[in-house]
Amino acid sequence: MTLTQPSLTAVESAPSRANAAGRRLRNRLGATGLVALCWIALMIGCAALAPVIAPHDPNAQDLLHVYAAPGGDHLLGTDGTGRDILSRLIWGARTSLVGPALVVLLSLVVGLPLALAAAWRGGWLDAVVGRFLDIVFSLPAILVAVLAVAVFRPGPAPAILALAVAYLPYVARVARSAALRQRAMPYVAALTVQGHGGVAICARHLLPNITPVVGAQIPIAFANALMDLAALSFLGLAVQSPQADWGVLVNDAQAVLQGHSSQVVYAGVLIIATVVALMLIGDRLGGDIRRRRVRRAPQPTGRTP
């Protein structure tokens, strides 16, 4: 899954107006947006507090109670080797959320400055960066990860690093086009005439103005990274079984063939719910830009100079 939804957004991040921003964010998200936000918070809670809230040790096998039905000691039953499904789902949240977070973070840390520099300098740098991003964009994320895993040993680290590289163009291309749009605006020209330097203008003006646009891409890139990483774990190339991870939990073919598909369904639902929640948040944040475009009263536009 290598494509993000084209949507722009506004996350007010001006420090001096934090509470106003909070209020605006809340009403911009709307009801469904808030529900999505609560779900994500819940998942993050599970990941962070797994040791405290998980009823059992996720890896403790109990061969006497294999495929136990939900209820009693095991709220959601046990898997093929008697491990508590609920605990494994809770612990699974860790790798399934931390992984994508790293991917997005890495691609942001590298992608954003690259995009800003390219948009500001223009000329050859913009051409080179543009070409580089196009090339990386043409390498499907899953293939890059598979290649990395083939070279190093299967495990989360190579998969996350490879995905970060593959996801670089998502963030960078959106940031670069947004930055180029802002750069063409007269207010940037005015700042140049004032005598401000490139770095000052990029940091104080371009970055804050593209933050809403980039902000909307983050939850969507996160959702895609989550799906890709879980797919790799499903294939046994990222998080290795028996460690608990949603992707690993979905890959329980023997249980399914014997008619015990509860674990697969629970893990699948968790992934779908989290991904949909993230995409909803991204969409809501993106939607704002489209509505908030300045509605100009019909003006005599005069001749374009």
């Binding site: 509605r295 009263a297 005599p300 001749r303």
Partner: protein
């Protein structure tokens, strides 16, 4: 003589950011067949909404009160209900042509000029008529132009194509919504004289919407000045320019610099133009009017006939006393 177009106490609200906002309030206006009426107003005055209401190009969720009649058919109003009403309206509207401000945005970029012109009338003769009309609107090498796409023609030429497409339908009324605002001065002069000459030849009525009072006065029979969604003054063009009655018209004329003379300092209409939904009770212009008194802020003056004009102001007597600042000829 029965009016060709009649607006009877028309009020229009359109959804802005989700909630309905009034953009035209209680406009009544008659247009005689073959007459050219200039509609002049600043931003938000509702001038282009008036034309869009007649053409039925309002955004979904808009509401229209009052009645709009064209050549006896009711486009809006009590009788215009149900399927029969709508088909009558559609038939009537085929006799009305509309020219927009930004011709390039109003043409399908993927459609050749020729296909655009004949789209409404597929007949064989249509192409020949289209080429003739392109000549008539002053486009050179019309046959070749038929096969060209909009991106291959200048703004001025595209506007002529729009006019040609309107003339092809042999309309009895042309609504022109700031047709020359986006054009250069020289092109504007050509397009305006073209529009005027062709409509006179065909006896077509014209509603010319603009923010440029002088431009409208040069070729319109009457000019209507609109502010905050309602008409302030409707008058014969020369009289309106030479001896404006309404303080807003006087203010606009005085604050507009002239090309042939200069005043040391421009008299100014303070404040900014309001839309109908922003207008206070009483006279909408009161907040910006130098002659406003308490009465103006409370009661909304009626559009009354005076010296052959229609004016919406209760302070005309007092204003008459104050002279119009004369232009001082100083290099």
């Amino acid at each position: 003589m029965k009016p060709l177009l009649q607006l009877d106490r028309v009020s229009v609200s359109i959804p802005i950011d989700g909630d309905p906002r009034r953009v035209i309030s209680d406009v009544s206006l008659d247009l005689a067949p073959g007459e050219a009426l200039g509609v002049v107003g600043e931003s938000g005055s509702g001038k282009s909404m008036t034309a869009r209401t007649v053409m039925g190009l309002l955004p979904s969720g808009s509401s229209v009160a009052g009645a709009v009649r064209f050549d006896g058919t009711e486009l809006y109003g009590p009788e215009n209900q149900g399927r029969a009403g709508r088909s009558r309206t559609a038939a009537a509207r085929r006799d009305i042509g509309m020219v927009f401000q930004d011709a390039r945005a109003h043409l399908d970029p993927r459609q050749r000029i020729g296909d655009f012109l004949v789209e409404t009338d597929r007949g064989g003769a249509a192409r020949k008529a289209a080429v003739e009309t392109l000549d008539r609107v002053g486009i050179d090498d019309a046959a070749r132009r038929m096969r060209q796409y909009p991106h291959e023609m200048s703004g001025g030429m595209l506007q002529r194509v729009m006019i040609a497409s309107v003339l092809l339908a042999r309309p009895r009324l042309i609504l022109a919504d700031e047709p020359t605002t986006a054009l250069d001065a020289t092109t504007q002069a050509e397009v305006v004289s073209l529009l005027d000459e062709l409509r006179r030849e065909d006896g077509t009525a014209l509603v010319f919407i603009t923010h440029d009072l002088d431009l409208a006065a040069t070729f319109c029979d009457r000019v209507a000045v609109i502010y905050a969604g309602c008409l302030q003054e409707v008058r014969q063009a020369e009289l309106l320019i030479r001896a404006p009655l309404h303080p807003y018209t006087r203010g606009l004329l005085a604050s507009r610099p002239a090309t042939d003379s200069r005043v040391p300092r421009l008299p100014v209409v303070p404040g900014r133009p309001l839309s109908a939904f922003e207008a206070p009770p009483g006279c909408a212009f009161a907040a910006r009017c130098a002659h406003a008194v308490d009465h103006c802020h409370q009661t909304r003056p009626a559009l009354t006939a005076r010296q052959g004009a229609l004016v919406r102001c209760d302070r005309l007597a007092a204003i008459e006393a104050a002279p119009v600042p004369e232009k001082v000829n100083r290099p």
